[in-house]
Subunit: 302 residues, 2 copies
């Protein structure tokens, strides 16, 4: 069961870090950017950068999150690099989270679900479009936009993370609006997530239907941890966005489990601040993050 | 101004129809599907199908909406066919709506906005990833997830449609939840849309920031038309999803303007019901839809 597998890797490495491969072309060292003029050129260099980062960290972090926007902006060439990045990370044994925040009505959601979690049929053949272990989704369309993903989770042992309380400042405009029963929207959506996950709870008590809960909003995260006992969290916002270990502590239960913490810029761009090669600096940043997180979370899995 | 341009085409053709190129491989005639075994093969045939549909309808409909899920499921090859479809439709003078329902925090939303509405920079060069006139977006992340799109709208004369009240049955689970001030969520989000569009109102009184309002929910659509005077509607749900002309009448003002009505399966698969070639049947379906819509909306632009 995929969430169990993610948790086991976290326990083994004592590290709930997720490396965010939100690889902006600007993050690359100047000598890699030089002379590149086409989308194909960018795609090739970004993939090379990603592979070196993956090679450098796969033995100390359990997972990567790959944000598709940073690839989509380079058209079909970028999307091919996205696919190759997912594939390479999976080959190295990493749990792969496709950050795509997909959402649509049932029939269309089903296409997205097959693209990221399942298989696409072509007459009698099948192939995988964007093979991932988890994909992020947006629940604004309600159950019939989410159930097609849950079906693929059940069929192929995959998972999703539903946006509940995002890390950005103005998420509150919709997510913190209070409903007539006094419950804020994020908590209400969290309740739906808990329900959507009912059929897939694994041996650690967490389902395959997780929630996005930003490190930048500790009060909301603490409340969500309390009311969503079976929901595993994907926690963005650590580092460049202002979240720190103390702020996200409440996402974790007494056994040191409950979520995976994403960091993108802080790892990919560590070399710009600390010097050295980008891949060595990324590894050092992952080690520093592991220490920082475990200092507040404690021993994971006990 | 892009919404003005769309409205002028609607007035000229007396037709507020949007052809939904949600081209499932299964929609293609058997002889086009025969022997295809790869994503590249599907992409080629879907593009051929789309081009023939476009050739057959571009002089009688103002716009097409291309749902990216149906292309993404075939990986990078599908995405290339998506790009080529957008390009071909634009060449034929159609207003092109990319239905992608993208959403993310500010920095990432900015990448999506550039990909669909603006330009992507590669060192000193720029190129367009998915050139569209409008892109659909999901507002769950609030203003800082939407403003990057509005900025590209202003810079490149483009538009967006924000999900407000979707056509699917369970959209109500979140969209119809009542807030503590008695306002349902969809109306509250609609209010944000009206605000996000303030800086881009055109000569017909509608802004570049439109709303998705499903034909399947006439009560909500009528309310939205009343409270969102500057918001142009993208209206899905006509035909296969159960919406009809009478149900969506309330989306339109007294001058017969206010929205564009999408139909996908009813046009792409008309040949399966009515016989003939798929492209002739699609044209006939567009003509029938024009008659149906104008019989309830009346003369557009008076």
């Amino acid at each position: 069961m995929i969430t169990d597998k993610l948790i086991e890797k976290i326990i083994e490495m004592q590290n709930p870090t997720c490396v965010g491969l939100d690889t902006l072309f600007d993050y690359l060292p100047d000598d890699m950017k030089e002379g590149v003029t086409t989308f194909e050129g960018v795609a090739e260099k970004v993939l090379e950068f990603n592979k070196k980062i993956i090679d450098s960290v796969y033995d100390i972090v359990p997972s990567v999150k790959v944000q598709i926007a940073y690839y989509e902006m380079y058209g079909a060439a970028g999307i091919k690099a996205y696919y190759e990045t997912l594939r390479y990370a999976a080959e190295k044994g990493l749990i792969v989270i496709a950050d795509a925040k997909r959402n649509d009505i049932g029939s269309t959601a089903s296409c997205y679900a097959k693209a990221f979690l399942g298989e696409t049929q072509v007459n009698e053949q099948t192939d995988k479009a964007f093979p991932s272990d988890f994909v992020t989704v947006n629940g604004y369309l309600g159950s019939d936009g989410i159930v097609p993903f849950v079906e693929q989770c059940e069929k192929h042992d995959k998972g999703i993370f539903v946006l509940v309380k995002t890390s950005n400042p103005s998420g509150a405009e919709i997510q913190n609006v209070v409903l007539e029963n006094g419950v804020p929207m994020y908590e209400y959506v969290g309740g739906l997530v808990e329900k959507w996950g009912e059929s897939t709870v694994g041996k650690y008590g967490y389902s395959a239907v997780g929630a996005v809960a930003g490190a930048t909003h500790p009060t909301e995260a603490a409340r969500l941890r309390e009311v969503l006992p079976h929901t595993f969290f994907l926690i963005p916002g650590y580092g460049a966005q202002g979240g720190n270990a103390e702020m996200l502590k409440s996402c974790f239960g007494k056994n040191g489990l409950g979520g995976v913490v994403n960091n993108s810029r802080g790892i990919l761009c560590a070399y710009k601040k600390n010097g050295g090669t980008y891949y060595d600096a990324a590894r050092a940043a992952c080690i520093a993050m592991q220490k920082d997180l475990s200092s507040v979370i404690g021993k994971m899995g006990e």
